[in-house]
């Protein structure tokens, strides 16, 4: 088990490194911060002084080496815009995104398990067809459009919910609902497919023959075996949520990490961008390891493969 984990950690660390490297160089391609932070009339000396102060005058590899050694000392640099430590800005924004993504994933998985299982009970029944159509429509809805419609109906017309902000539980409804639609639609389809498979297996007949109730058959016997594919897709979707809440955060003014990333690109705030990407990549990295452990817990075949 430990060697299995070690192998996984090693092989997932490579993408992590490449992402950090890629963001470092790509960000510097977007332009010279001096153009943004100094007045148009700035002289060449002022520009040079600015670059020297922030270390932008070194050759790129030297800058990268410096950056790495800083990171090793847990120093993530300073924001160009606010002159505050970048780590602070990122850590302030991260919980907002994490809470949003966590609640969304929890609701999506719980809802999808129930709806998908019930739809799978009688394949091709009217309930199944309705669930199928609704889930495919919900997986096909552009999130930004859904968000705007939510604002139009519930905030502008009915006035039930605020248009933005994070204060009070009402403020959470539209952002969570917007993030929820796609993962929910996709997961219902996955759960349904996996449950149909599981329900056609012989052990379900055995369970029924032994007199197990319908709910026990569905949720204890079948669902456990439908877990692996659900987990795969849920993991992919969660990764997407962590780094892709940008649209929702932009529309609802949610002070999360996605918005922070976009803003720091626009403002050439490299230190903040790098810190934000590093943190999200680490989160995704941890999430992937966690998913692998869950596999092993769920599926004895994986467990054995890991031991061997």
């Amino acid at each position: 088990m430990l060697t299995f984990l070690g192998r996984r950690i090693l092989s997932s660390a490579i993408p992590l490194l490449v992402v950090v490297l890629g963001v470092f160089f790509l960000a510097r391609l977007t332009g010279d911060p001096a153009n943004l932070y100094l007045p148009l009339s700035a002289t060449q000396e002022m520009r040079d002084a600015f670059s020297a102060k922030h270390g932008f005058d070194d050759p790129l590899p030297a800058q990268f080496a410096e950056y790495l050694s800083q990171v090793a000392r847990l120093d993530f640099g300073e924001s160009l815009r606010t002159a505050q430590p970048a780590a602070e800005a990122v850590l302030r924004a991260f919980p907002a995104t994490l809470q949003l993504a966590g609640i969304t994933m929890l609701l999506a998985v719980a809802g999808a398990v129930v709806v998908g299982s019930l739809a799978a009970r009688r394949p091709n029944s009217p309930a199944d067809r309705i669930a199928g159509f609704l889930s495919s429509a919900s997986a096909s809805t552009p999130d930004f459009w859904f968000a705007i419609m939510g604002v139009l109906v519930f905030a502008v017309t009915l006035g039930w919910l605020p248009t933005s902000g994070t204060v009070g539980s009402a403020a959470w409804v539209l952002p969570v609902a917007t993030l929820l639609i796609r993962p929910f639609g996709v997961l219902v389809q996955v759960v349904r497919g996996a449950m149909v498979t599981a329900l056609s297996e012989p052990y379900i007949k055995v369970a029924r023959a032994k007199g197990a109730g319908e709910r026990r058959v569905l949720f204890r016997h079948a669902l456990r075996n439908a877990g692996a594919p659900t987990l795969t897709v849920a993991g992919d979707l969660a990764v997407g949520l962590v780094n892709g809440a940008v649209v929702v955060e932009t529309i609802f003014g949610w002070p999360g990490i996605g918005k922070l990333m976009i803003d720091s690109i626009l403002q050439r705030d490299f230190a903040v961008l790098q810190a934000a990407v590093l943190l999200t990549s680490l989160t995704i990295f941890a999430l992937n390891i966690l998913i692998d452990i869950c596999y092993a817990l769920l599926d004895p075949r994986v467990r054995q493969g890991a031991m061997a």
């Binding site: 790509l26 199944d128 495919s136 502008v156 498979t197 795969t232 976009i262 690109i265 990407v277």
Partner: protein, 343 residues
């Protein structure tokens, strides 16, 4: 490891026989007449086909026919509601704050949206599947290196990549296509690799190798025909994803730039007029949803009607469908778990 059951019965509504699985490729699959009959039997699939044909028609003929109309401002017909009569047929879906016909803009935007989505999907399908088949066929270091590259691309925050690239270069159609294509290559790479890694040890491949067939020909003539239906289904579902991403980018202001128009951009522009001209934001969104749902439905239909030997749905959402045919795809996903950690 999973075994690739041969000659398993085809989907519930047979007509597609399992012939493709015996390696004869096209010869084993039902003819186009048979497929058409299958299609006609499924109302949802027929409707999806009709929608997609309409969109394709708009995309092809829209820009030359309606291009001028979509740009023409009529300040006497500003913010007309949908179905308002009296100002001419072009305002049947209303007009925006500059008095441009929403219908004409929708039609022209279909062309822009397709001119991004179609090349992006085609490019990633081509590169990803050739690369994946090659990697899976040769195994060893070529496979591991390819899979690591796919991991890197997949773990890169794709929206961030798009933002950076589109800032460095102009957000023109070609660059958007390039970003989307690169971001989606891993999907096909993984699918093609998984299938071809399994096929390489099959008897008919061994037989062909015994007769001295080279690696390139083995992949082209014995692996490709079996993997292709799966890849095409993946591509159909991915098409939806690419379309949604393009509209998100355009919505965020880093995709299609005015005066060009795409559905996502129309929603973004309509957002400002939400209070007094809601239809300018609602209608393009509906266009996106209808097209995407139609594509998903058709892909699902194709998956059931098509090759029964296909599996591998790591990246593709599972879906509803008819009982027995479905069961297999679900199992394939379950079986993917062990491979993931081996690759």
């Amino acid at each position: 490891m999973r075994t690739h059951e041969t000659g398993e019965p085809a989907g519930a509504d047979d007509g597609a026989d399992g012939g493709a699985d015996d390696g004869t490729g096209a010869a084993g699959r039902p003819g186009s007449a048979g497929l058409l009959r299958l299609l006609a039997a499924d109302r949802a699939a027929v409707a999806a086909c009709a929608v997609l044909l309409l969109v394709a028609l708009c995309a092809l003929l829209g820009p030359p026919l309606f291009g001028d109309l979509a740009r023409e401002q009529n300040l006497r017909a500003v913010k007309l509601r949908p179905f308002s009569t009296g100002e001419g047929w072009e305002f049947v879906l209303g007009s925006d704050s500059l008095g441009r016909s929403v219908l004409a803009r929708l039609v022209v935007a279909a062309g822009t949206t397709m001119s991004v989505a179609v090349p992006a999907v085609a490019l990633s399908l081509l590169v990803g599947s050739v690369w994946g088949m090659w990697a899976g066929f040769h195994r060893g270091w070529r496979e591991s290196v390819s899979m690591r590259i796919a991991d890197v691309i997949l773990s890169f925050p794709s929206l961030l990549l798009a933002v950076v690239v589109l800032y460095v270069f102009d957000p023109g159609v070609a660059n958007i296509v390039a970003v989307l294509a690169v971001a989606r290559i891993p999907v096909y790479l993984r699918t093609a690799r998984a299938e071809s890694a399994q096929l390489r040890s099959r008897l008919f491949v061994d037989a062909a190798r015994t007769f001295g067939t080279g690696d390139g020909a083995l992949i082209r003539r014995h692996v490709l025909p079996i993997v292709l239906p799966t890849l095409l289904t993946v591509a159909a579902v991915d098409f939806c994803f690419v379309m949604l991403t393009e509209s998100s980018l355009s919505f965020l202001g880093i995709g299609i730039q005015p005066p060009d128009v795409s559905w996502g951009l129309m929603v973004a522009q309509g957002r400002a007029e939400l209070r007094n001209a809601w239809w300018t934001a609602v209608l393009p969104g509906l266009a996106i949803i209808i097209t995407t749902v139609a594509m998903t439905q058709l892909a699902n239909w194709a998956r059931i009607a098509g090759d029964p030997a296909q599996r591998w749905r790591l990246t593709v959402p599972e879906r509803r469908g008819r009982g027995r045919g479905r069961a297999r795809a679900g199992r394939a996903t379950a079986g993917e778990a062990p491979t993931k950690e081996q690759s």
